[in-house]
Amino acid sequence: MNIINFTPLSAFVGGIIIGLAVILFFVGNGRLAGVSGIVNNALVSKKNRTDNFLFIVGLVLGPIFYVFFTKNNIPFLITSSLPIIIIAGFLVGIGTKVGKGCTSGHGICGISLLSLRSIIATIIFMITAIITVRLIG
């Protein structure tokens, strides 16, 4: 194992900012900022639909504000082929719906709540993701 491209400071600061979003959504609206749940509910449920859509629109505006105010570029690179992207999106949709959470819902909110379910979910999706990268990377 070689360690490369490690950016601990921007990662930690970005994490704190994500944490602030989680807190605001929880203390203000009583909800957990699990993105898969928010997107899925915006799609299939009438409950809180406007809130969910507004959160999603905000999520898209975030990077635009960041670039506008800091004048920084956002490094972004996808190397996967289109068929792989479509299959991956499908698996992420099915998996986060069946497992009731993704990196934000289980990995951040659930672990912050010390939920055993979320801790186990996070360990499992990290393991299968690391194996997948090993196999196809």
Partner: protein, 142 residues
């Protein structure tokens, strides 16, 4: 009305966090998942930063009567480690490892006007709808 503004601002802040940490970038995430190759531990620091901030607030607020702008806290009550949790999370991890996209960054990356993000999100939504359909069929009507 205030709750709508809170939802909107929460989304914006979340998207800024994904930009600052560069977790919006699949290449950065794949660097973390390439644990046995060229490893980039940054994602761990993102999770630590977020958890350090949110965990104490959850502890302080979860037993309060109600949030500031809504009637109740909605925290999942499920406790069991069931088959769905394991199969679902395992499946999610495979999709995550294939491209480096999970739902938050995928949505946020629409800001970068990338057509691949659009395809990823459409198939993710397809996955949600298919799962809903299967649940409907397999759960026998009463």
């Amino acid at each position: 009305m205030i709750s709508k503004i809170i939802s909107f601002i929460s989304g914006i802040i979340f998207g800024v966090g994904l930009s600052v940490s560069n977790m919006i970038n699949p290449e950065k995430v794949l660097g973390f998942l390439d644990l046995f190759g060229q490893w980039d531990p940054s994602l761990i620091f993102v999770m630590m930063g977020a958890i350090i901030v949110s965990a104490p607030v959850f502890v302080l607020f979860r037993n309060k009567n109600k949030p500031l702008f809504a009637d109740t806290f909605s925290i999942p009550t499920l406790k069991s480690i069931d088959k769905n949790l394991i199969i679902g999370s395992g499946t999610f991890g495979i999709g995550w490892g294939m491209v480096g996209f999970c739902p938050g960054p995928a949505i946020s990356s629409l800001a970068l006007l990338n057509t691949y993000s659009v395809f990823f999100i459409l198939s993710m939504l397809g996955g949600y709808l298919l799962t809903k359909l299967i649940n409907k069929i397999t759960v026998a009507p009463q």
